[in-house]
């Protein structure tokens, strides 16, 4: 009893093979994190891994616990210096990666190795906080095979690595059905269980609630998807796809802001050209939702603001799917509150004198607002303003400089200048940001709207007609709304790679890929409480609450485990094919009166049978020889089992 237990992991020392497996696993799990970490922390982690390799190569003792503790404290200090916190999401994960290197360095026994392997599972999970794409899932699968293979190697040290990796694959394949059952039936709850760290939602991109020269053109250089829309039937043509987002009222001479807003009762407009669609919005950590102009039906939990924005009740921090409907030709709503109209005329004191003078000139000569508007549009059309993703920097009078000096800019410059001119001329106007266009994926007919489709336009208030959309960019650069960003900008501008017109084949590939990614987003990543309830009611479980789901999950999982156990044991009790063939052979001979005596060996029995049945003697001897070779022979002879079975089957006894 005092003997050390040879299977106990505390008793078994790490071998170079175990170390190699763990290193491979750690590199796989740490690589995505390393790309996000500062370079020097990555170097520290790599240094820790290399240290361990050196310890193994030199067969020296692992570092003492005190040394490891000292390095851990240093690492904590370094992480604090870099991130100014230890409890944020990113800093916490970086610490975890560092500790994986420390644990690796000090690991001595199989128990430590198993702890490192479990830590790998953990690090895989932390990577999912940043991305849950298909490539991430594939990387996760590969990592699981390596980590699990290493665990198998710990349990069976004398087995070849390939056999262990194969076992890991088999185990994971057997685990997949159980995982599927759990995934479908585990009750999903809405929302976090407790507060999340402050930086949990950092790094989500999208439109902001302000607009100043340069920030939209920067956003437009990103290929990232903003949202996708699936239409019932034909989608509207590109020039009508204005996805309305934040409405900006207040201008301080440089930056446009949303300013105060309030919710209003939604009154569906009347009109024609109705489109019904489903939007899958990527998380952007803001409340607004995007819908085509003009909204005819609000999403289920959507609200409506005084300036026609659709907003959610909370910032969108997970992919969100909502139904909406819009009218292409909505009847105008002429009413607007006087204080809103006053707000839509406000301009900062002074500045941009040339633009003010221009507007004043229009105002003196134009008989009414409509004429004035036409003047402004004509001005934009005729003044040969350039459209570029790299607008020149502007000084203290950005509108003047854009309109009269640099003469090139992005849609934020166009819309900002236009609204400024309108207000200066006495026409209420506001800036609207959002997305314009989007690309129809020819695989699944879903429209993908990217950050590069970000756009800003203007709305002016005309007496008797209400708010009307005016797109000064479209007036100046007609190609922008008809053909998209890539054809509209100057040659040589840094257009996102996949927006370039010549890479058609690449776009085809991307269409397929994104159709797949959309399915993935909707069916795997979007499988939340609502979708679960949907699916359950479709397979006949009404009002699936967590009790019903848990009961179903437990019983199906239990049945699955029992089935698997029964199946693997049944396979065990079945005689092997060699024995089966031999028993069939004995039965055949027995039916002809040559039953095998209990103690009779195969050779003697075959000789006796051959003597009794001379016409089949050759076959009988051949079968006996094959059986002996298969049962007692070398591995090479075992390859002839199929031949044995065939010969027994074909044996004819007259």
């Amino acid at each position: 009893m005092s003997m050390p237990h040879p299977l106990a992991p505390e008793q078994r020392a790490i071998t170079p093979r175990d170390l190699a497996g763990l290193l491979a696993a750690l590199v796989l799990v740490a690589a995505p994190h390393a790309l996000r970490m500062p370079w020097w922390l990555t170097l520290v982690v790599l240094g820790l891994y290399a240290w361990r390799v050196r310890i193994a190569l030199e067969r020296s003792a692992p570092p003492s616990h005190w040394l490891v503790l000292g390095i851990a404290l240093l690492a904590i200090g370094a992480v604090y210096l870099e991130y100014r916190t230890l409890f944020g999401r990113t800093s916490g994960i970086v610490l975890l990666v560092l500790f994986s290197g420390l644990k690796l360095a000090e690991m001595r026994t199989h128990r430590d190795a198993a702890v490192v392997a479990f830590l790998c599972y953990f690090l895989v999970m932390t990577n999912l906080l940043y991305t849950q794409s298909i490539p991430t899932a594939l990387l996760m699968g590969l990592t699981l095979v390596v980590v699990t293979g290493t665990l198998v190697g710990l349990a069976a040290p004398r087995r070849p690595v390939t056999a262990n990796l194969r076992s890991a694959g088999v185990l994971l394949a057997h685990a997949a059905p159980a995982a599927l059952i759990l995934f479908l039936l585990f009750p999903r709850v809405q929302g976090p269980l407790w507060g999340l760290p402050q930086d949990a939602y950092a790094g989500m991109t999208g439109l902001s609630d302000t607009m100043s020269p340069g920030n939209l053109s920067q956003l437009a250089q990103s290929d990232a998807i903003a949202f996708r829309a699936e239409f019932d039937g034909e989608p509207p043509p590109p020039r009508e796809r204005y996805w309305r987002g934040p409405v900006l009222w207040d201008f301080d001479g440089r930056t446009w802001r949303m300013g105060p807003g309030w919710l209003e009762e939604f009154a569906a407009p009347r009109g024609g050209g109705r489109y019904d669609y489903v939007v899958t919005l990527e998380p952007h950590n803001r409340t607004w939702l995007f819908a085509l102009e003009s909204v005819a039906r609000l999403p289920v939990r959507g609200r409506y603001t005084n300036d026609g924005m659709v907003v959610a009740t909370a910032p969108v921090r997970a992919r969100l799917r909502y139904d909406a409907a819009s009218l292409a030709r909505a009847e105008p709503v002429p009413f607007e509150r006087p204080d809103s109209l006053r707000r839509a005329l406000a301009l900062p004191e002074g500045g941009n004198a040339r633009a003010r003078a221009l507007a004043a000139g229009w105002r003196r000569t134009a008989p009414d607002e409509l004429q004035l508007l036409q003047r402004a549009i004509a001005f934009f059309r005729d003044s040969r303003l350039g459209y570029t993703l790299e607008p020149p920097l502007l000084g203290p009078d950005p509108v003047d400089e854009f309109l009269f000096d640099t003469r090139e800019g992005f849609c934020e410059h166009f819309s900002s200048a236009f609204v400024f001119l309108m207000r200066a001329a006495g026409v209420p106007a506001r800036v609207v940001t959002g997305y314009q266009g989007g690309e129809v994926n020819y695989v699944d007919r879903i429209i993908s709207v990217r950050q590069s489709d970000a756009h800003a336009w203007a709305e002016v208030h005309l007496p008797g007609r209400g708010w009307a959309r005016v797109d000064p960019t479209a007036a100046a650069v007609p190609g922008r709304v008809d053909a998209g960003l890539a054809r509209a900008v100057r040659a040589g501008d840094p257009v996102p790679l996949l927006m370039r017109p010549r890479l058609g084949w690449l776009r085809g590939l991307r269409s397929n890929w994104e159709a797949l990614a959309h399915r993935w987003n909707v069916w795997v990543l979007g499988y939340g409480a609502e979708r679960q309830r949907d699916l359950m009611s479709r397979i006949g479980m009404r009002d699936a609450d967590w009790r019903k789901l848990t009961a179903a999950m437990a019983s199906i999982l239990g049945a699955f485990t029992l089935l698997m156990l029964g199946w693997s044991l049944r396979r065990l009790s079945r005689p092997d094919p060699v024995q089966r063939a031999w028993q069939a052979f004995c039965r055949k001979l027995g039916a002809r009166g040559v039953a095998r005596a209990p103690a009779e060996g195969p050779r003697d029995y075959a000789e006796r049978a051959a003597a009794r049945l001379p016409e089949a003697a050759a076959s009988i001897r051949a079968i006996a020889a094959l059986y002996i070779a298969a049962r007692y022979g070398r591995a090479a002879a075992r390859g002839r089992i199929a031949e044995l079975a065939r010969r027994v089957r074909e044996l004819q006894l007259a």
Partner: protein
């Protein structure tokens, strides 16, 4: 309390699923294979718990997928750990007799009739702690040699043997007990003392032979089956194909009686048996013919391996069976 209950033979048989000792080949039915998580298994479970909470908290659907895949992996590991032991067939081989104080070499044969391999199976003798770890190839038989210290002369029964495995992931420990009907004959511990003088009632030839001195090599003769391998002239065999036996002039004719009554009366039975065992060894080595006289048992003078073994067995089992 459980220990007290298990002292009852029937309860014990029900609890362990077998009745000891078991004869022939023992196949481990799944009722006899027990399974529990190891400490690592609990740690794994705790890791899964944290992963699950993280997935819920951050609403990570891929995190759920990872957690549940790992949970499924745990379940499958449980099944596979059971499978690694279930339906394994164990049978006991012959254990060669040993002297008390040596270790009996019990041989167990583990027959893997499955088409998959069964790696890392621990075979451990519960009472002595003798243990060995085996890897069984598909369809192969492996031999486990358990060196069990033999303290006392007589029959040494192989008691309970533990079979255990933690393959494939080390998260579960499956184990089973077997108690095959195997026993090893343990001879008394031999005590080396000078051989007794040939007895007065030795036959005439003995006296003559003794006069010539002992242990002198006198020539070779053809090998006979009962000849000890120690007396085979191996060098001569290597030169020719015939088996030859060395003859020793001195001892060949001597006849010894190894007698229980020859010791001082103060010697107890075990000491007497030890001395007699030493004498049997010495007499066989000398090549003399020797007989053994124990109370209630007499073995006529002879020599050779069979006689040697018979004498030692008589000593081993004196007063036992």
């Amino acid at each position: 309390m459980i220990r007290a209950l298990l002292a009852d033979v029937r309860l014990r048989a029900w609890f362990y699923g077998y009745r000891a000792p078991e004869r022939g080949a023992i196949t481990l039915g799944q009722r006899r294979v027990y399974i529990l998580p190891t400490r690592l298994g609990w740690l794994y479970g705790a890791t899964l718990g944290i992963l699950l909470v993280g997935s819920i908290n951050y609403a990570l659907q891929l995190g759920f997928a990872l957690t549940f895949l790992l949970a499924g992996l745990g379940l499958v590991a449980m099944v596979h750990t059971t499978r690694n032991l279930a339906r394994l067939t164990v049978s006991a081989g012959r254990a060669e007799p040993v002297f008390a104080g040596e270790a009996a070499q019990f041989r167990l044969y583990l027959d893997n009739r499955a088409r998959f391999d069964r790696p890392a199976i621990l075979v451990r003798h519960q009472a002595s702690g003798a243990q060995v770890v085996l890897d069984l190839a598909p369809g192969a038989v492996a031999e486990a040699v358990l060196a069990v210290p033999a303290a006392k002369r007589g029959w040494l029964a192989l008691t309970r043997v533990l079979l255990e495995t933690r393959f494939p992931l080390g998260l579960f420990r499956a184990w089973s007990y077997v108690e095959p009907a195997a026993r090893c004959l343990v001879y008394p511990r031999p005590e080396r003392t000078p051989l007794p003088a040939p007895t007065p009632d030795a036959e005439a030839g003995a006296a003559r032979a003794q006069a010539q001195g002992s242990d002198d090599f006198s020539g070779l003769r053809a090998y006979q089956l009962q000849d000890s391998p120690r007396h085979v002239a191996w060098k001569a065999v290597a030169r020719s194909d015939d088996m030859l036996t060395k003859q020793f002039a001195g001892a060949a004719g001597i006849e010894l009686w190894l007698d229980w009554t020859r010791f001082a009366a103060t010697l107890d039975a075990e000491q007497r048996l030890s001395r007699l065992a030493g004498w049997v060894l010495a007499a066989e080595q000398s090549g003399a013919r020797y007989g053994l006289r124990l109370p209630g048992c007499t073995l006529a003078p002879d020599r050779g391996d069979a006689h040697h073994a018979a004498c030692l067995q008589a000593l081993a089992l004196y007063g036992i069976a």
